[in-house]
């Protein structure tokens, strides 16, 4: 027991601080990815719902590729491809040598692009749950397309999308574990290093898992609060209370 406390504590020999820092890194990179994903994802969803055939095909291609390819590969491609691009660009300005894409940025973009494909599907599903009449009502008062999206569609999509977005957040949280290949010290990377350096695999995997669970429970609170907030305008039939 004492051994465990020493191992995981915050003293000089303990891994506590190291793992805590990694957890913060995981949160930061996932948040960044979620924002990138929401931005790209809403465009993709829009393209997929569009009446324009080209846009629809482009949207479909995006979700097929980014959902269909293993996540690790996408992170690889973004990281190495991105670095190659940065290096090439730097050469144009006479800067010699390798200029790495910062691993945080590469990771956030990689996970963000993946998350975008999931978010696009969530948004699309929620969109179809909107009562069509309400969109018509907006068209009928001459709301331009963008405003219609911002004022009527987006709020309702968000209302239906919260459970699905909770899922996407979870996925991104765990996809962030793959960023360890770029050398970013997040939870998975830190647990692997601690385990490999001490040969205490179980302890550090359980600790890693627990850290993810703590993050999950914190984010669950946020999502539950969000669900409760939007539930105001719903009418649930008796006996079907969701939570």
């Amino acid at each position: 027991m004492l051994y465990l406390i020493n191992l995981l504590g915050f003293s000089k020999e303990g891994w506590g601080l190291y793992l805590l820092g990694a957890a913060l890194m995981t949160v930061a990179v996932t948040l960044a990815a979620l924002v990138i994903g929401a931005f790209v994802g809403s465009f993709v969803a829009w393209a997929k719902l569009s009446r324009n055939l080209t846009a629809r095909i482009a949207g479909d291609a995006y979700t097929t590729i980014f959902r269909g390819m293993p996540e690790l590969l996408i992170i690889y491609v973004v990281f190495f491809g991105g670095s190659a691009a940065v290096t090439a660009a730097a050469e144009q300005f006479g800067i010699e040598g390798f200029l790495g894409m910062p691993s945080f940025l590469a990771g956030a973009i990689g996970v963000g692009l993946i998350s975008a494909s999931y978010q696009a599907e969530v948004f699309r599903g929620s969109f179809t749950a909107i009562v069509p009449g309400e969109i018509e009502a907006a068209r009928a008062i001459g709301m331009p397309r963008l405003m219609r999206f911002r004022r009527i569609i987006a709020p309702q999509v968000m209302r239906f999308a919260i459970p699905g977005l909770g899922n996407v957040w979870q996925l991104s949280l765990k996809d962030s574990a793959l960023i360890s290949v770029t050398g970013l010290v997040e939870i998975m990377n830190a647990s692997n290093k601690a385990a490999g350096s001490t040969h205490q695999f179980f302890i550090f995997y359980i600790v890693g898992g627990t850290l993810y669970l703590i993050l999950t429970s914190l984010s669950n609170r946020v999502f539950n609060a969000g669900e409760a907030h939007v539930a105001k305008s719903f009418r649930r039939p008796a006996g079907m209370q969701g939570s």
Binding site: P70, G125, T128, P163, M188, G208, L215, T216
Partner: protein, 241 residues
Amino acid sequence: MISSFSWTDTFFQLLAALPNTLLLFILSISIGCIMALGIVWMRMSRNRLLSGFARGYIFVFRGTPLLIQMFLLFYGLGQFRFLHDTPAWWVLSSRFATAVLALALCTAGYSAEIFRGGLLAVPSREIEAGRAIGMSGFLLLRRIVAPIALRQALPAYSTEIVLMVKSTSLASLVAVAEITGVAAKIAHTYYSSIGVFLLAGAFYLVINFIIIRIVGLLEYRLSPHLRLMPARAQTPRTIVG
């Protein structure tokens, strides 16, 4: 003698691992889907014990990386010697069965949340109309709620299905020879990682492309009421259900 790298060899080695990947996927998604139905039923139940259990389950399995789940399930439980004499060992002693179990347990947590999202999007008016004619419980679920909820949940569920295809790659952790594991082995032997992984990626892409198409078709079939009336065939050929 230097065995040198060859694309055709690589392709056929990956192809040989395809059945394992597909089997892992099909078994785990079916078992996981059934488990998810049970969990979502518990989650929506008014019984606190049941819904509490379901919440806990979803929390744990959604909240931790599958990699860690699989590691602890396979290697962790394996350390408990007394399990070797119980029926559980029948599953745990097999790499393949354990991998399927870990995948199914994980997807059940996710799918349950997705199904719940679909349920929440069912218009309350239509549920009321069902109650008003004396439907409740399973009948109401089967006839009214589920068909509408399924339609709502399908886009998100297709994502989960596709994720499961990719998640089978983690089975290499417990030394099941599926596509990614084989690719990693080749890549580490010949050190041409990106190329080999891209080829493996293409395998997943093809499988997923097919799956996404099938789900898309299903989605289309399930939503005639959301479409404009087609110029031909105003009357459906069969009356479903």
